[in-house]
Structures are given as C-alpha cells and as structure tokens.
Amino acid sequence: MTYEVAQETAWHVVLVAVSVGIAVAIGLPLGILVTRRPAWSRWVLGAVGVVQTIPSLALFGLLIPVPFIGGIGPRTALVALTLYALLPIVRNTVTGIAGVDPAVREAARGMGMTDRQLLLRVELPLAAGVILAGVRVATVVGIGVATIAAAIGAGGLGVFIFRGVAMVDGRTILAGAVPAAVLALLADAALGVLERRVGPPG
C-alpha cells in the first residue's frame, strides 16, 4: 500500500500543478485585461465567481457529459480544478494591479513609458506579491478539491478516501487524507516564502 500511496500522491501533485499552471496561463492575462477594460470587470469576476459557488462534487459530475472536455478521467478533473483555481488568480491579479500607487503610475506615464512598459516594469512587479498570494490560495484549495477527482476516475489521493469511506475503514481514509493535508501545508509554506521574496519592499 505504501507504494500505491506514493504513486497517488505524485499523481495528485501533477493534477494540481497542471491545473494551477493552466489557471495562471488563463487567469493572469484575463486579470490584466480586466484592469484595461473596467467595464468587463463585473462580468469576468462574476463568471469566475459563479464557478466557485458550484459544489465541487457537482462540478465534476456536471462536466462528465460535456463534449470534448468531459468524460471519465483526468481531463475532466483538470478542467474542473482549473475552473476552481481561476477565481483567486484573476481576482488577485486585478486587486494587485489596481493597488499600485496612482502616483507611481502617473510618474511612470509622465516619464514616457509605453503601456507595455508600464505593465511589465511597474504594474506586474508591484502586484507580484498579491498575484502570488492568489496562486497560493488556488494551490492549497486545489489540493483539497483534487481529492474529489477520484470520484470521476481521475485518481489522486481521493482514491483512498473514497475507498475508505466505502469500506468504513478509517485507516484507508487517512492514507489519502494525511498526505493531502501534508501536501497542502508544504505548498502553503513554499509559496509563502516565494511571496515574501517578491512582496513589496519595506
């Protein structure tokens, strides 16, 4: 069983890392776009927020019959996990960029920065701490939610939890729950260190 736990733990990490990675790739540009088009902010944040309100088990289930992205297995789980990870990443990107001191932005524009230079040299570096905090929340939540992936045959540490519940065997449940909790703590600590490193000076 030890080998099996190690294997599912590794797979669990892959599920979360890939889904958070995709969520960053989608959420960061989406968040930046929203700061450029404030009128879209309600719609975008509303949409990613609504996803968050769907109970996770239901979201996995609802995605199964959807063509192309659905079905039984990891693909569906990755889609669901990515959707969950979007909200904190998009929201924190928007908050982080909006939180840049207006004087800094005005001075940067007054010095003749192009929009692109303003984004890359000023806004993103200054928002990095807040954005990373969003990635951290998305990762920690994702590690918990990913246990449900086992319900649709996508593997991960949830395999032991569902098996343990079915067998009414506490030890098997713990074989899934404890590594998941440890993963969450480790991810939280590691991303916390990174966040402080890029965070605002002073």
């Binding site: 004087a103 800094v104 932005r105 001075a107 940067a108 007054g110 003749g112 002073g202």
Partner: protein, 243 residues
Amino acid sequence: MTAFVQFAGAGLALANGRTILADLSLAVAEGETVALIGRSGSGKTTALKLVNALLLPTSGIVRVAGTPTRDWDPIRLRRRTGYVIQDVGLLPHLSVARNVGLVPELEGWPAERIAARVAELLELVGLPFADYGARRPHELSGGQRQRVGVARALAADPPLLLLDEPFGALDPITRADLQREFRALQARLRKTAIFVTHDMREARRVADRIALLSGGRLLASGTPDELVASDEPELRAFLEAGG
C-alpha cells in the same frame, strides 16, 4: 525670446460638460521658469498635464517646441520632458540609482553612460551615489525622495521641466532648502520650467514669472514684482495668505 511652451486658447472640458480649464493663453520662454499658482481646482495641474500630453486640450492648442502636443508622439514628448510630482512616484521596487536612470534606460543608453549620468545627478542633488545609489526609496526621507524625483526628471537632460507641487508634502524647512537648491540648479541649467504651486511665497522664490489661475481661467500674469503691485482681488488674497 522664443516661446518653448505656448498655450494658445487652450481649454479642457469633460464629457459631462464641466470646464476644467478655459481659454488659457500663456507663453513660456526658453530657459524661463513660470509658476502656475491657484487654489485647488483652479486648473493649474490640468494645464501642466496638457504640456506633456497626459491630457489633450478639447479646445485651442498647446505647443511644445513649436509643435502642437496633438502632433507629438506622446512617448517621445514625455521622454524629453522632466516631470516631478508631489507624491514623487518613485518606483518602490527599484533602487535609487535605477529610478534615476529610468528614462535613459528606456531610451536605450549604454549601461556605462547611464551609470555615469546617475552618479553625476545624485551628486548634483546632494545624495552621493556611494551612499544612496543602492538604497530603496522607502529608506529615504521625504526630502531625499523628492531630490531623487528631481534627479530622475533631469536624467535624460530634457529641455523642459514640469513640476507639480513638487515640495508640497515637505516640512517648511526642507521645503525652503529645496526651493533654494532648485533655484541654484536652474541658475546653472536654465531649463524651461513650469512650476505648479498653491504657495505664493514659493512661487516668488522659484519663478521668473507667475501666472495666477482661478476657476480654470488665467487671472493675472507677470513678474513677482509686477504682481505685488497688482490689485486683482484673488491675487491679493494669495499675497496676504502667504507673503
């Protein structure tokens, strides 16, 4: 004397019809320092932002070096215009040296030339590179930060300086020091400068000529001595409020 900056009936009205600035005509000669003075909401900051095209006039024309701001590439115009604002706006994640060298860096100067220029400017504003270059803005006092702001504005040796209440947030003693230093600097550099302030004493200290704005309109303009003799009521109010 040729006008380096010329407001020709320049005005700015918002989409809701509110007029921020109306029909401003004012010429700033090359090498001259003009103070724009007025109360909050008088349109003086708006006038300043019309010069570096952070705003474009909705009526009239603002010319810089003979070319209407509308026809300037705004990025080029701003890189050739030093801009100092009250809140300084130093980039908090960059060192003092990198802040000062920012415009040269954006302009693609070679690294050695930037380094030499930064050292020269920090020396000029009394913050030697060896002691201050590596510091972050939050490690400086308000007065030091504003000195860095001035050094940054001068970095690419722009012919024109725009200063928006640059010393407004400083204590009176530091402010007087910086006004004196600014004057001394200007005596050497002879940049064309527009200096926005709400303090008549400051205007008289730093400027060759003063223009008084109220409610978006130009009420009076002239040398400090000419204005002292004027009986314009708003002007008297400013003179009596602050020497």
